[in-house]
Amino acid sequence: MNAQTPLLKVEGVETYYGAIRALAGVDVEVHRGEIVCLIGANGAGKSTLMMTICGQPQARQGRILFDGEDITRVPTHLIARKRIAQSPEGRRIFPRMTVYENLQMGASLDNQTYFKEDVEKIFTLFPRLKERQAQRGGTLSGGEQQMLSIGRALMARPKLLLLDEPSLGLAPLIVKQIFEAIKLLNQQEGLTVFIVEQNAFAALKLSGRGYVMVNGKVSMEGPSKELLANPEVRAAYLEGGHH
């Protein structure tokens, strides 16, 4: 595939939960090396989009292309094997596995080939996880679970990293630390990131481009700088916020 093909292309995707339409024709593109953010109110459909990309649930209408290849009907585990990793909403740490085992689960794709080397990177990124490696996932604090969820996703050596609200419930200092880590991975390793955030200000600062979602549709898109300056965005997502 040539460099112009977007890494991820979502075309007119509609997703349903039973009869309820959660995504009403969504178009999104993410190019290699980008950090793209998705903001929107509660219930807008952000998490649904993240999960639809991974085939859980599958889109009823539209197409999802990864690296030019149609993955709309591909089963979830095979999508993961194409190197799309997600730190999903709610973190979904395996509660009765240790931190170490959770990280091993992240490295399942390569049969632990790069585990030793990669886990050291994760421990450098989140020293807290190193201290806690023998502890069971379910007993970690919320912030520790968030670090573990991101670390686990990174262990898969993803081409595309999907992050669903990595800042949720975390202290500002930790948020800063996590966002810096994401930025570093993006700059140093060219990691492509698609990130959903409630914390719109921080997300727009971090990303190069952004999408705003309202009621299952993209209502606005553009360079993050422009969205930051846009009065509508400011009124809906930023005023009274964190800046």
């Binding site: 859980q56 979904r92 395996f94 091993q104």
Partner: protein, 300 residues
């Protein structure tokens, strides 16, 4: 005192067989929350597979050693039980995944009837005996230990150790535990959840096959209805030990084997099942999740 030790040895032997069957109930329940009611018949299939192989070997191969024969019988039982379980999971249980909880349960009861009726029709309804294979007994200070008891306990120890290793130390075991704890997340990490569930059924079935071959060697008979009583006992063992827990299944099996043989020794043999189930009821009142099971309440 010798009598007590004697009965304890008998109980441990029986309990090992229950424990091996119980593993299948507990693993399948652990991974998909389904009580696989046809698992007892998978064990029964194992006894018949071993029996048929015994007949083939004795009539076709002259002068085969008993150890080699046992190995071949065991392998046959493993293959047949696993194959049956694998097919049933594919065609009967997998399509029902995600439907209401009772659907697979009812299907499992159906599959149980299918298999036991099939064996009844093809093998006949009466007990099928084989001549004793392993007859050596040892006398240790007035207590009789037979070689076949030693074999059963040894094989149980080996199988349990292997299973414990697979589940706790290997990537397959991790995939099984991940699937058990959060199926969707496991898939997001590239785990083929359907395949992992299939393997779990096959692992449980292969142990039931081993148990079936051991049972045949020990008692020397096979009957189409053997899936029921030992199946229910093994299921009880799994619940007693804490369903979902591997060590629990073995512990439950041993306890039930011991209760049965000790109760029969000192009280009325007619009431041995009453004793077993009373103890189950008492344990569940004080520890609803079983002896080694984890309580339902959990911070996630």
């Amino acid at each position: 005192m010798e009598y007590f030790i004697q009965q304890t040895i008998n109980g441990v032997t029986l309990g090992s067989v229950y424990g091996m069957i119980a593993i299948g109930y507990t693993m399948v329940y652990g991974i998909i929350g389904m009580i696989n009611f046809s698992h007892g018949d998978v064990f029964m299939l194992g006894t018949f597979a071993a029996l048929i192989m015994f007949l083939i070997l004795t009539s076709l191969v002259a002068g085969m050693g008993v150890a080699a024969m046992l190995l071949v019988m065991m392998a046959t039982a493993i293959v047949m039980s696993s194959l049956w379980s694998w097919v049933i999971e594919r065609i009967a249980y997998r399509p029902l995944r995600g439907s209401f909880r009772l659907a697979p349960l009812i299907t499992a009861i159906g599959m149980s009837i299918v298999l036991s009726n099939f064996i009844q029709v093809t093998q006949g309804p009466r007990n099928k005996p084989i001549p004793p294979m392993v007859t050596k007994v040892y006398d240790v200070y007035g207590v009789t230990i037979s070689l076949k008891q030693i074999l059963i306990v040894l094989i149980t120890i080996v199988m349990m150790t292997a299973f414990w290793y697979v589940v706790t130390k290997t990537s397959l075991g991790r995939a099984q535990r991940a699937t058990e704890q959060d199926r969707k997340m496991a898939a997001l990490l590239g785990i083929d959840v359907d395949r992992t569930i299939s393997i779990t059924f096959v692992m449980g079935a292969s142990l039931a096959g081993v148990a079936g071959a051991m049972y045949l060697m020990y008692y020397g008979v096979a009957t189409f209805s053997d899936g029921f009583i030992p199946g229910v006992k093994a299921f009880t063992a799994a619940v007693l030990g804490g369903i979902g827990s591997l060590p629990g299944a073995l512990l439950g099996g041993l306890l039930i084997g011991l209760i049965e043989s000790l109760w029969s020794a000192y009280f009325s043999i007619d009431y041995k099942d009453v004793a077993t189930f009373s103890i189950l009821a008492i344990v569940l009142i004080f520890k609803p999740s079983g002896l080694l099971g984890r309580p339902e309440i959990e911070k996630v």
